[in-house]
Amino acid sequence: MALITVRQLTKEYVRTKAVQGRFGTLRTLFTREKERTLAVDHIDFSIDEGEVVGYLGPNGAGKSTTIKLLTGVLWPTSGTVEVAGPGGPVVPWRDRQNLARRIGVVFGQRSQLWWDLPLIESFTLVAALYDVPAPRYTSNLARLRKLLELDPFLHTPVRQLSLGQRMRGDLAAALLYDPPLLYLDEPTVGLDVLAKETVRGFVDESNRSGRTTVLLTTHDLADVERLCRRILLIDHGRVLYDGAVDGLVARFAPYQEVLVRLDGDQPDGDRLDLGGFSGEREHDGRWRFRVGRDEPVHRLLAAAGDGWQIRELSVVESNLESVVKELYRERRDG
């Protein structure tokens, strides 16, 4: 059964248009001209209990807005969201306080921890806000301290923590009250390789042992490869793809790339036809060919006899990163 059901969800931001030119700032104060941006445009999806879903899209695609709508922080322009629960389905913005106890939220770009207080104070405060009984708080904190290695900075004021430490603190705060649903908005942004691995390991563990359902936005596709079986790809507020990670690669990159370096004299120009494949010159002098997954690469090799000698050849499998890069580029150019 679906835990989250999103139907035709739409959010339009309206803001006063700034007037350019002479006395622009002053005229802006009195202008009535509005600028409308559709951040989320009639999207539909649903997420089952126990899933870890990667919510991807270029900057400004509408990811954060969606998360804020799902958590009930923002009020949508139209459409609806239902989160299943023991007391029946809940619409986030209508029953925000009730839903709040069942969701954990981490926004990588900001922190819910109290900047001026030692980290542990934020935890006791969160426990009180979410009414966590003392024994459960003690056992949860012990588990989180171990998993996220919080002990070295548990009594340090949050403002003195490194980004990685702060993020671990934020994750702990978000899971202190055992929410069955976790929204992570760029939880690994700005973290080093080791800190990223700690965060990923922790999310994986929470999903496996705690059955926590996770919706994750990120620009680091290693997060997705490590954690998610399913991807929701959005851009300009619309869902471009909803399905398995492998499916995305197969659908949007049904080819592999072959890099070829030629011996001796190089052909003129930036394009080269070889065995019926068209190649483009790379910066390093190699030639890049796209070969369909069912097309035989050996035709390229066989073509080598036609005057060009192949010195070096490598096949690059399309992966999530290359596909997503390609998709973002197409969207931007188109």
Binding site: Y13, N98, W114, L117, D131
Partner: protein, 266 residues
């Protein structure tokens, strides 16, 4: 209910802890208040020019009033309005809204925590304030008993008004101007530096018609015996009425603010 109370209490405790991190600010503001008491009591004493009573208020009573009023006016200087605006501006308001507690209640709990710290410091400097300005006991037993009640009503009014001003940040993002204006108008019309009895009639009518007078004037005037009996009782009724009205208005404004929330950045 019990659940929510636990949450609000935690907010009050956190606000106290946060304020205590900035002890220098607390003591600096206490020093400013003492300096203000020194200036305002000297100026008003001089204004009496040897007369015993002006507008029904003796020189001694005026000095006690001004000392008390200056101490009470500290609550008007709450950082709540800036905190709210700063969190809207940075987008951290996203966390306040996603808590399982009401936003206005959370903000009032923050205000309460701040006030607890301010009151503790104020109590510490009361003897000094008495030396610099002038203090005496309350005008009588009734005055002594009614004074804390009047203070509590005044605190609630100021909390609600600050909250309403803070909520403007959801429309304007930056509300420093509005907040500065509020502090100035509130402190003046509350009678923080001039007892309301000295106001010219039209200004007095304005001050009487607005809720600010219950924040500073009413409690201090009760203490010195300037307001007593039926006048004090009527004052309580009107103050309570304002509290009900402003609570309703706050709920209404918050509902609008929530519907138009924009979380800035990322």
């Amino acid at each position: 209910m019990r659940r929510a109370l636990r949450g609000y209490r935690a907010y009050v405790r956190a606000a106290v802890a946060i304020r205590l991190q900035y002890r220098i600010t607390i003591f600096a503001s206490a020093a400013v208040t003492l300096l203000w008491i020194l200036l305002v009591t000297r100026v008003w004493s001089a204004a009496y020019q040897g007369r015993d009573t002006v507008a029904g208020l003796s020189r001694e009573s005026t000095v006690v009033y001004l000392t008390l009023a200056s101490l009470q006016a500290i609550v008007i200087n709450s950082p709540l309005m800036w905190i709210m605006a700063a969190r809207v501006r940075s987008g951290e308001v996203v966390f306040d809204i996603s808590r399982p507690l009401g936003y206005p209640g959370q903000m009032l709990a923050l205000q309460a925590g701040t006030s607890v710290t301010q009151i503790a410091v104020t109590l510490l400097v009361v003897p000094l304030a008495g030396l610099i300005g002038g203090l005496s006991g309350p005008a009588g037993l009734a005055a002594g008993l009614l004074y804390p009640v009047a203070l509590l009503l005044g605190w609630m009014l100021n909390g609600l008004l600050s909250l309403l001003i803070g909520l403007t940040a959801f429309w304007t993002v930056e509300n420093t101007g509005i907040a500065v204006l509020y502090r100035f108008v509130a402190a003046f019309l509350a009678g923080a530096s001039v007892p309301l009895v000295f106001f010219p009639a039209p200004l007095r009518a304005v001050a009487d018609a607005l809720p600010f007078r219950y924040i500073v004037y009413q409690p201090a005037a009760i203490y010195i015996g300037q307001v007593n009996g039926p006048a004090a009782r009527d004052g309580f009724v009107v103050a309570a009425g304002w509290i009900v009205l402003l609570s309703g208005l706050t709920a209404l404004v918050w509902r609008q603010a929530y519907r138009r929330t924009v979380v800035h950045g990322g």
